[in-house]
C-alpha cells in the first residue's frame, strides 16, 4: 500500500466551481470516474504546474504533457482500492510532476542540480510511481494499435472496449454473419498481440 506523509499547502488558486467540492468529494468523484469532477481538478491545478515547469526551463507543451500524465497517475492510483491519499491533491499532483520533470531534465541533459520549487512536495522514489513501466507498456500498445490499421482497430475496440456484441459488430461493419466477424476479430487480436509483445519485450 502506498503511503504519503501529510502535508498542508495553502490553497492559493481555487475556481469558484471547485469551492463547492471538498477534497473528499473530489476523491470520491474521481474514483467513480465522474468527468465533471475530473474537469474541476484538471482546471484547478494546471496554473501551478505550468508555472513550475516554465520556471524550470520547460515549455507549456512540456507542462501540458506532464500535467496530464500526473492527473492520470492520480486517477489510476485512486482506482486502486488499497490506495490511500494522505496529502492534498495539489501536493500529490505537484510532487508527481516534479518527479517526472526531474527525470525528463536528466534525460535531456539539462539538469543543473537545482529545481525551483513553489509548493511543498513529497519526494517520490525513482520507481515508486511505476510511470516508466506504464510509459513502456502503453507506448507499445499505442504503436501496435497504429500498426494493425483498419478495420482491425475498430473491430477490436468495439468488442473489447465498447463491449458490443458480435452480432452488433457484424452489422455495423458489414460482415455477412457473426461467426465471420468473430473469425476476423480473432485474427486481428492475434496480430495485435504479436505486435504488442514484440514492442513490449
Amino acid at each position: 500500500m502506498a503511503k504519503f506523509l501529510l502535508q498542508s499547502t495553502p490553497k492559493s488558486f481555487m475556481s469558484h466551481q471547485a469551492l463547492q467540492y471538498s477534497e473528499t468529494d473530489i476523491i470520491a468523484g474521481l474514483r467513480q470516474g465522474d468527468s465533471k469532477v475530473l474537469e474541476i481538478v484538471y482546471k484547478q491545478h494546471y496554473p501551478t504546474i505550468l508555472h513550475f515547469i516554465i520556471q524550470n526551463n520547460g515549455t507549456d507543451q512540456d507542462a501540458k504533457d506532464l500535467y496530464q500524465e500526473a492527473i492520470l497517475v492520480l486517477y489510476e492510483k485512486l482506482k486502486q482500492e488499497n490506495f490511500l491519499l494522505t496529502c492534498q491533491i495539489k501536493t500529490f499532483v505537484y510532487s508527481v510532476c516534479r518527479r517526472l520533470w526531474l527525470k525528463r531534465l536528466r534525460e535531456k541533459g539539462r539538469y543543473y542540480g537545482k529545481i525551483e520549487d513553489f509548493e511543498s512536495f513529497i519526494p517520490f522514489e525513482e520507481d515508486e510511481l511505476n510511470v516508466e513501466e506504464g510509459e513502456h507498456k502503453y507506448g507499445a500498445m499505442a504503436q501496435a494499435l497504429d500498426m494493425i490499421g483498419e478495420p482491425c482497430r475498430t473491430l477490436l475496440k468495439d468488442f473489447y472496449i465498447e463491449n458490443l456484441s458480435m452480432q452488433d459488430i457484424s452489422e455495423k461493419m458489414g460482415y455477412t454473419n457473426a461467426d465471420n466477424a468473430k473469425n476476423q476479430k480473432y485474427k486481428c487480436l492475434m496480430r495485435l498481440k504479436k505486435l504488442f509483445f514484440e514492442k513490449y519485450k
Binding site: 475530473l38 494499435l145 472496449i161 498481440k193
Partner: protein, 367 residues
C-alpha cells in the same frame, strides 16, 4: 479445440463467464499445465493493457477538451516569459561554468594565502584604540619605583582626551580610555592651567562612550560652552577637525569625512581622513562651522589616515537614555547654542581649547 476456440475459452474464463464442468476443467488445466497458466496470464495482461490504454486515451481526450477551455481564458498567460526563458536556456550553461570558475579561483586564492581561517582575527586587529599607551614610561617608572621603594604611589597608565558636554562638570571620552582606571585627572593648560579630579559617571561599552564627572572641590563650573552638537549626518567630503592631546600639548588635526560608516561598516561611526595618534581618543570632531559632529575613537592600523569617530547622534542617545533612566542628581545639560560659526578657525580653536582636557588615567596601583 482449435486455437481460436481455446482463446474464446480463456477470455470467457477471464470475464468470469465459465460455469460448471467447463470452469472445473479450466481450473484443473490451469493447475496442471504451467505453460497454459502462463499463456492465460499473458493474455490477461495483454487484454488489461489494451483496456487501460483505451481508458487513458479516453481521459486524455477529455483533458484536451478541458485544456482548450483553459487556453481560451488564458488566465495564466502572465506565467510565460519567452524572452527571459530563452535567455536563460541559452546562457545558463555558460554562466554556470563562468561562476564556478570564479568561485573556485576565489577559494583557491584565499586558501593559498592561508587567509581563510585567520581572516576575521586579522581584521579585528586592524584597528587600534587611540589611548596613548605609556608602556615605556610605565616600565621606567616602575623600575625607578623599585629603586626608590615608593610603592604606594599610583602610576599613570595612559593618557587620552575628553571634552566638556555639560557646563556643570560632565566630560565625554571613550569607554576604552577609562576602562580600567583607578583614578582620573583632567588637565587643560592653555590660557590657564586647570587640573580636576574626575570619576567615571557612566560608561557604555557598546558605543565606546564614557561620561566623566568632575568631583574636584576646587571646581566651580564652566562658563557657557561655545559649541553645540550637530545631530544630522555629515556629508561626505565635508571638512572636519579635531583637537586633542596626543602629547603634552594640544594638537589640531584637519581632514574630511571619508565615509558615513566606520570600521567594518560600523554605522555608529564616521571614517575621517585626519591623521591621528594614540592620545587622540576622546577628542571632539567638529565640522567647518564648529558644530560637534562626533568623537574620535580609533584608527585603522593598515590604512593611512583612516580614523573613526562616533557620531553625535549616539552621544545624544546615550545622554537621553541616561537622563531618562538614571536621573542624575546634577542633570547633564547638552549645550544648545554655538558661538563659533562666524569665526575663523584660529578663533574657533581659541574659544574651544579651554573645554578640552587631557585625561591622565591611573592604572592599578602598584604594591
Amino acid at each position: 479445440m482449435n486455437l481460436q476456440q481455446r482463446y474464446e475459452w480463456i477470455e470467457s474464463y477471464l470475464k468470469g463467464n465459465l460455469e460448471g464442468d467447463s470452469l472445473l476443467q479450466f481450473q484443473e488445466k490451469l493447475q496442471n499445465e504451467p505453460l497454459f497458466a502462463e499463456e492465460v496470464e499473458q493474455h490477461r495482461f495483454f487484454l488489461e493493457t489494451l483496456n487501460q490504454h483505451a481508458e487513458r486515451e479516453r481521459l486524455k481526450a477529455q483533458m484536451n477538451v478541458f485544456h482548450k477551455d483553459l487556453e481560451k481564458h488564458k488566465a495564466w498567460v502572465f506565467y510565460k516569459h519567452p524572452i527571459v526563458q530563452t535567455f536563460w536556456k541559452k546562457h545558463f550553461p555558460t554562466m554556470a561554468v563562468a561562476a564556478s570558475v570564479a568561485i573556485l579561483t576565489a577559494i583557491g586564492v584565499l586558501w593559498n594565502a592561508r587567509n581563510l581561517n585567520n581572516l576575521e582575527n586579522q581584521q579585528i586587529t586592524y584597528f587600534q584604540s587611540l589611548k596613548k599607551d605609556l608602556d615605556a614610561v610605565k616600565k621606567r617608572q616602575s623600575s625607578l619605583e623599585e629603586q626608590n621603594e615608593k610603592q604606594d604611589e599610583p602610576v599613570v597608565d595612559h593618557t587620552a582626551t575628553a571634552f566638556v558636554i555639560s557646563q556643570n562638570g560632565y566630560l565625554l571620552t571613550n569607554y576604552h580610555a577609562v576602562k580600567d582606571a583607578t583614578a582620573i585627572y583632567a588637565e587643560a593648560k592653555q590660557d590657564s592651567v586647570q587640573r580636576y579630579k574626575a570619576v567615571v559617571f557612566y560608561k557604555d561599552e557598546q558605543r565606546d562612550l564614557a561620561i566623566l564627572q568632575i568631583t574636584d572641590t576646587q571646581f566651580k563650573g564652566f562658563n557657557t560652552l561655545p559649541y553645540t552638537f550637530r545631530y544630522d549626518p555629515v556629508d561626505l567630503g565635508e571638512e572636519v577637525f579635531t583637537l586633542a592631546y596626543p602629547r603634552e600639548d594640544l594638537v589640531y588635526g584637519k581632514g574630511e569625512v571619508a565615509s558615513r560608516t566606520g570600521f567594518e561598516g560600523d554605522s555608529l561611526e564616521y571614517q575621517v581622513s585626519i591623521p591621528v595618534n594614540p592620545g587622540n581618543s576622546g577628542g571632539p570632531l567638529l565640522d567647518d562651522k564648529g558644530f560637534l559632529v562626533g568623537i574620535i575613537n580609533r584608527k585603522h592600523t593598515k590604512q593611512e589616515g583612516a580614523a573613526f569617530a562616533i557620531k553625535a547622534k549616539y552621544i545624544k542617545a546615550l545622554v537621553d537614555s541616561l537622563e531618562a533612566h538614571q536621573k542624575p542628581e546634577k542633570p547633564i545639560i547638552l549645550p544648545k547654542q554655538s558661538r563659533l560659526f562666524t569665526m575663523k578657525r584660529p578663533q574657533q580653536i581659541k574659544a574651544i581649547q579651554n573645554y578640552i582636557f587631557e585625561l591622565k588615567v591611573y592604572g592599578k596601583e602598584k604594591k
